[in-house]
């Protein structure tokens, strides 16, 4: 029995150094917003109401505005750093929209749209990037773990959480979000092993935004990333991550499998990081303007907008309202950021341990006393 290299199933072509074809994806919206049929995806979004469609669009627009505000705040010295998500709104918001309240997400640092979808408050987006906190929000109110910086580590946390949900007999699902670069990490692969072995109700969402800082995805994978999961016994979909409807559909498919006890699923959302890796990064050093330009024509928001306008679901006044809401959110985020005060230094000794710890308490007392010495 011989297994051969993954082939691009639609074309039969063997991927080469150029990397997998970004158009070899499942989608229901063409880049220009034309609705096309996809037998796998369509059933999952047949019931989407105009209200839901507008909410999806609105959250994407809000995410973009929020992201722009993050960049601006960093440029103005209000944030130490920001990781822009421009271009990835459909993946983030689309998948988040499919979730139930009891589901729990394990995001990376770039998933602003996921947090928005989960109901984050304005301060939640910025306090960590400002350096005030390691993690700003209460994980229990938005059912989201602190954003993970150690690439791929959260894939295991999600799998473990899912094993717990399974033991509780609940239908809650865990979702791990990570990038294309993360797929090279041992943790991400071990997560597939554990998830498969225990049939854990977890969804792996890989936002393949074509870049891991300066490394093109071909450094990690010359073949479609979605082709890996099946080898671990995990069905996967490779979707157009700039097609919000495809993202909702794929996520519903995966969540449904999980809730029915079928175990893990894997979604590769093919998208693009339009901005720099972070505000510290200079992408002109490693990628062509032409590439960025080409992806502009696949913009996820313009695409959904075109479709919804054509369908009569969205009009100018609705768009104005969205723009106003976006500005309001941005203003709130800005206010939460600029208004943030830095904690008392002594608080840095808190929560090292949940229970009393003589060593930390002594160091805290000593440091407080030391600081008091300056006030004399």
């Amino acid at each position: 029995m011989t297994y051969t290299q993954t082939r691009d199933s639609s074309t039969g072509r063997r991927p080469d150094e150029a990397g997998p074809d970004v158009d070899d994806v499942a989608r229901v919206l063409e880049p220009d917003g034309t609705r096309v049929a996809d037998a796998t995806l369509d059933p999952w979004i047949a019931d989407l109401s105009p209200h839901e469609l507008r909410a999806l669009h609105r959250d994407m627009a809000l995410t973009r505005r929020l992201d722009a505000e993050g960049v601006a705040l960093q440029r103005q010295g209000q944030l130490a750093l920001w990781a822009p998500c421009r271009g990835q709104e459909a993946t983030q918001v689309g998948t988040a929209h499919a979730l139930a309240p009891g589901d729990f997400v394990f995001p990376s640092y770039r998933e602003h749209g996921v947090l928005l979808g989960r109901g984050a408050k304005p301060a939640d987006y910025v306090l960590a990037w400002r350096g005030e906190e390691h993690s700003a929000y209460d994980h229990t109110t938005i059912n989201a773990a602190p954003p993970q910086i150690i690439i791929g580590a959260q894939s295991l946390h999600a799998t473990g959480w899912a094993m717990g949900a399974q033991r509780d007999g609940s239908t809650d699902v865990a979702v791990a979000y990570y990038g294309d670069g993360a797929t090279s990490q041992g943790d991400v692969n071990e997560a597939m092993v554990f998830a498969s072995s225990f049939r854990a109700p977890v969804v792996f969402v890989c936002s393949n935004n074509q870049w891991a800082i300066s490394e093109p995805v071909t450094v990690q994978a010359k073949y479609p990333i979605a082709g890996r999961a099946p080898g671990f016994g995990i069905p996967s979909m490779r979707i157009d991550g700039n097609d919000a409807l495809a993202c909702v559909a794929a996520m519903r498919w995966a969540l449904d499998r999980a809730r029915r006890g079928e175990g893990p699923s894997f979604i590769e959302a093919v998208t693009y990081r339009m901005g720099p890796h972070t505000t510290s990064d200079d992408p002109t050093r490693y990628r062509d303007a032409g590439e960025v330009e080409a992806w502009t024509r696949r913009d996820p928001i313009a695409r959904l907008e075109a479709y919804l306008r054509a369908e009569g679901v969205l009009d100018d006044s609705a768009l104005d309202e969205v723009a106003r809401a976006a500005d309001t959110l941005a203003a709130e985020v800005r206010a939460a950021c600029i208004g943030a005060t830095t904690r008392e230094p002594a608080t840095m000794f808190d929560h090292v341990y949940a229970e009393p710890h003589a060593g930390v308490e002594r160091q805290k007392a000593e440091y407080v006393e030391y600081l008091a010495g300056f006030e004399k």
């Binding site: 394990f106 993690s135 943790d187 929560h351």
Partner: protein, 335 residues
């Protein structure tokens, strides 16, 4: 009281923890049907089922990482790392996640996770099966680190570790797994000495030996031998390595004025360095001789035929006692 081996004491502690709280789970390689390669979890899967006593895939980062997720969902996972030398693949998850999630979340997330590690050498094992990695964890804020030296402590401290809302690295000295001691299985945890306190395993007046784990036994043997020579040694079993109960250590050193620290781990930046540094800082005026460290050498653990030259034995401890007592060539305890 029941006479149990240290291994059986841990087993009893695990059983009690599983009985007492549905959220307690065991995870590890071969801990199910086999009962672990040391049989510490013997019978537990049969009794509590495969949903609670979980044979995991062979991947330590995976085990610890999924345990983190289970803790986030409200479980209290007790992980077995098969041998000391196999904890390193999980190091990233331990240092960056287990140790830091409580802090990262400003106290909102709790990590009540126990990592049980069959630990250290002296059992004739192959490479990677005799490691003493405790200093790595002691140096990592956010972790508690404890080491049992006898069945009673193993039983009580294991239960305390499971009950703790902090992550605990729980070291079980392999070479004491078969040694027996009296265990009070019905001990009330509230009455038992808390896990973070050291224990004066033997009182003495001439010098203090500070140690932990299997070396406590060796130190007590040394104290017995010294007694024959008229030297009275106090032996402190640290029990907890993070935090270290320096009050107990300092009180002893202030009394004896002399101190020998012994452990199996390498010397350089080991736990012994911390003890000597802290003793010096806290008991400077009381010290009558420079402290001594008797440790494993700064070499990788050697082939087992040579390990008796690596793991500090009674003679090496007494040799150091001679030095802190500044005894001349004619009057060694050692002789």
């Amino acid at each position: 009281m029941t006479a149990l081996t240290l291994r059986a004491a841990v087993n009893a502690g695990l059983a009690r923890a599983l009985e007492g709280d549905d959220k307690v789970l065991l995870m590890g390689e071969d801990i199910g049907k086999l009962g672990g390669v040391f049989r510490v979890t013997d019978g537990l899967q049969q009794r509590f089922g495969a949903q609670r006593v979980i044979d995991t895939p062979l991947a330590e980062a995976g085990i610890v990482g999924t345990a983190v997720g289970l803790a986030l969902r409200g479980y209290r996972p007790v992980v077995e790392i098969q041998f000391d030398g196999f904890v390193y693949p999980a190091f990233d998850q331990i240092v960056c996640q287990v140790a830091k999630l409580h802090y990262r979340s400003n106290g909102r997330i709790r990590m009540p996770l126990v990592l049980r590690i069959p630990w250290a050498g002296g059992v004739g094992a192959a490479e990677h099966h005799s490691e003493s990695p405790e200093a790595y964890f002691v140096h990592t804020a956010g972790l508690r680190v404890v080491a049992a030296s006898n069945p009673q402590d193993a039983y009580v401290m294991l239960r305390q570790a499971v009950a703790s809302d902090d992550p605990v690295i729980f070291f079980e000295p392999k070479r004491l797994y078969h040694s027996k001691g009296e265990v009070d299985l019905d001990v009330d945890l509230a009455d038992a000495p808390p896990m973070h306190l050291a224990h004066v395993a033997r009182e003495g007046t001439d010098a203090t030996i500070v140690t932990y784990g299997a070396q406590v036994r060796t130190a007590l043997d040394a104290a017995l031998a010294a007694e024959d020579e008229g030297v009275s040694l106090e032996v402190i079993d640290l029990r907890s390595l993070s935090p270290i109960d320096m009050n107990t250590v300092a009180a002893s050193v202030r009394k004896t004025g002399r101190v020998v620290v012994t452990h199996e781990a390498a010397r350089e930046a080991g736990v012994g360095a911390e003890i000597v540094a802290s003793v010096t800082e806290q008991c400077f005026e009381y010290l009558e001789a420079p402290p001594e460290r008797v440790t494993g050498h700064d070499i990788p653990y050697p082939p087992s035929k040579l390990e008796k030259h690596h793991v500090p034995d009674l003679d090496r401890i007494l040799h150091a006692v001679d030095r802190v007592l500044e005894r001349g060539a004619g009057s060694e305890v050692l002789s």
